[in-house]
């Protein structure tokens, strides 16, 4: 549970770990149930809709302006998004 929280960058208290841990166990149990079904004669599904080959041509469309792109940024500098130090 702690590993999953770390991967999702979630800081969870001990109570939350317990709470979500219980939920996760239920989900896994449910998946076990699904896994028990014999699917040897069923084609694997790659996607929820049965559509393939949706493409666009290699053509450009207008981009946002720099101001528009940065308008939601908590902090911007030199035309870029400022992010906290990485290491």
């Amino acid at each position: 549970m702690k590993h999953v929280a770390l991967l999702a960058r979630l800081e969870l208290s001990d109570e939350e770990l317990d709470y979500f841990g219980g939920q996760l166990a239920q989900i896994l149990e449910h998946i076990d149930k699904i896994s028990a079904v014999d699917t040897s004669n069923v084609e694997p599904t790659a996607h929820a809709v049965e559509v393939t080959n949706v493409f666009r041509e290699d053509e450009t469309t207008p981009s946002l302006s720099q101001d528009e792109a940065l308008s939601n940024a908590p902090k911007a500098e030199s035309g870029g998004f400022v992010v906290p130090k990485i290491v």
């Binding site: 080959n53 666009r56 469309t61 792109a69 035309g79 998004f81």
Partner: protein
């Protein structure tokens, strides 16, 4: 040299490469933003490549086509059914916190590329070629611009979403030199296909390497390190050579190599451990629900295979077999597409192939190196060189004058015929005119004349040189020679 190309250390070097190539499309992989390099930060972005909620990607067919073509050129199987997956991880250069990539159904699998070095020819297996999206660019502020020690970083998402083709090799490469040869050949193939500009300096072709050593004769692989940040062919060879030496020392000291990522420092020529917080890689790949799967029709693949341009190996063989070049010249001229195209245009224009090859690989290459230009960007075109060779062949100018004309046309871009006319550089082949100069030279140099008469053949060189000097190199040297002999 041992089989592993690792000196006499008793260890064999094992290298696998992972190459990322930005494809040369005008728009991004999943949106219509342009892909131009060097624009102001965050001016080629939209809700899709900024990862804004609700924005939906649509795949660029051209990028898929380029990947299929690259796979075909590398003798890969092209998947009938392929799809994109989400690769989940957190890093600030990626707005969505996942990268759209491919997982168990890549577009191309199981190819190979034959690579020659001085020692050996080796078949390097291609594990897979898949398509993904590039990430944004980080600029680190403070700490001398390095990530370690920076106060904060700035993100530019212009590069985010540019189609990125990843090529993974089997661990079949046995020396740093072979790795370089592989990269050079791959680059020349991709340039021929026109799918990328493959500039390592601008980052449109990037390479990481997995390197391990094992006792010669062993079949099990040793512990590997991953080497990153090699931004040129030179850096690649140096970084890998350093890593071979470092791991050899570790093993010889009876210690074990640590599995880690190492960063190449081009200024110091060393690799250093990248001690970032090591989270186990757990990318939790799952099929990208925002993109539908792709069925690649066999007819389309066959059509693309039939339309592949001539690749460097085939061109080299043709230069040897049909045009009669030597193996070495053919290799140099077919190595890059622009050089080969230049040569062929000269030959098509009527130039003697061997003379054209000599001038391209000699004088022209020398000038290009000295001025740092690419063949397609310099003032000399195939038309220039073909005309120069014709003037030379017809005896209008001498070999020496030809070099002077070349110099001038390289600088000014004027056609050689124009230069020769303007400067009066035409070769003098009129025996009366040359005869007058010869007479004058003989009269002025009685000592050399005596020596020549006494059988000192060297003296004739001096006398010919004097005639050439007085005619500013324009006299036909053979006629000068003949006329001097005739006079004595």
């Amino acid at each position: 040299m041992s089989a592993g190309g690792n000196g006499d250390s008793g260890y064999e070097t094992i290298i696998g490469l992972e190459i990322h190539v930005e494809l040369d499309t005008v728009s991004k992989m999943f949106c219509g933003c342009p892909t131009r390099f060097g624009e102001d930060p965050n001016t080629q972005v939209c809700p899709v490549c900024l990862g804004l909620p609700g924005a939906l990607p649509v795949a660029n067919w051209k990028a898929i086509e380029y990947t299929i073509k690259s796979g075909l050129a590398l003798s890969c199987e092209i998947a009938e059914f392929t799809q994109f997956h989400r690769k989940n991880y957190f890093y600030p250069d990626m707005a969505k916190n996942y990268q759209i990539s491919q997982y168990d159904l890549p577009i191309c699998t199981g190819g190979h590329l034959d690579v020659e070095t001085d020692d050996v020819s080796r078949r390097v297996g291609i594990t897979r070629v898949h398509l993904e999206e590039d990430t944004g660019k980080l600029i680190h502020v403070g700490g001398e611009g390095r990530i370690a020690g920076a106060d904060y970083s700035i993100v530019d998402f212009n590069r985010s979403g540019i189609p990125l083709m990843e090529i993974v090799t089997e661990p079949d490469i046995r020396s740093p030199e072979e790795a370089r040869a592989f990269m050079a050949k791959l680059r020349s193939i991709l340039l021929s296909l026109g799918v990328s500009d493959c500039s390592m300096e601008q980052g449109s072709m990037r390479c990481d390497a997995n390197l391990s050593l094992r006792p010669a004769g062993d079949t099990e692989l040793g512990v590997k390190t991953e080497v990153k940040n090699m931004n040129s062919f030179r850096a690649l060879v140096r970084a890998l050579a350093f890593e071979v030496e470092r791991q050899t020392k570790v093993l010889q000291a009876g210690e074990t190599v640590e599995q880690e990522t190492r960063h190449f420092d081009a200024a110091k020529n060393i690799t250093t451990s990248l001690r970032t917080k090591e989270y186990a890689h757990d990318y939790r790949y799952f099929p990208e629900p925002d993109l539908v799967p792709i069925k690649v029709e066999r007819a389309i693949v066959a059509d693309m295979a039939g339309k592949l341009p001539e690749l460097p190996d085939a061109r080299r063989m043709r230069f040897i077999e049909s045009i009669g070049l030597g193996a070495h010249e053919a290799h140099l001229l077919s190595d890059t597409k622009p050089m080969g195209d230049f040569f062929e245009e000269c030959v098509d224009g009527g130039a003697d192939p061997k003379a054209a090859a000599n001038w391209i690989l000699g004088e022209l290459s020398m000038h290009l190196n000295a001025t740092g230009l690419e063949i397609e960007d310099c003032a000399v075109t195939p038309k220039h060189l073909t005309q120069l060779l014709k003037l030379l062949d017809e005896g209008t100018i001498s070999g020496k004058i030809a070099k002077a004309v070349f110099e001038e046309m390289y600088e000014t871009g004027k056609l050689p015929g124009v230069i020769v006319d303007e400067k009066g550089m035409t070769q003098i082949s009129d025996s009366d005119e040359i005869g007058r100069v010869v007479d004058a030279v003989l009269a002025e140099n009685p000592k050399a004349v005596e020596e020549l008469k006494a059988g000192k053949d060297r003296a004739i060189g001096f006398l010919v040189g004097q005639v050439m000097r007085l005619t500013k190199g324009r006299a036909n040297p053979q006629m000068v020679n003949d006329l001097i002999k005739e006079r004595l």
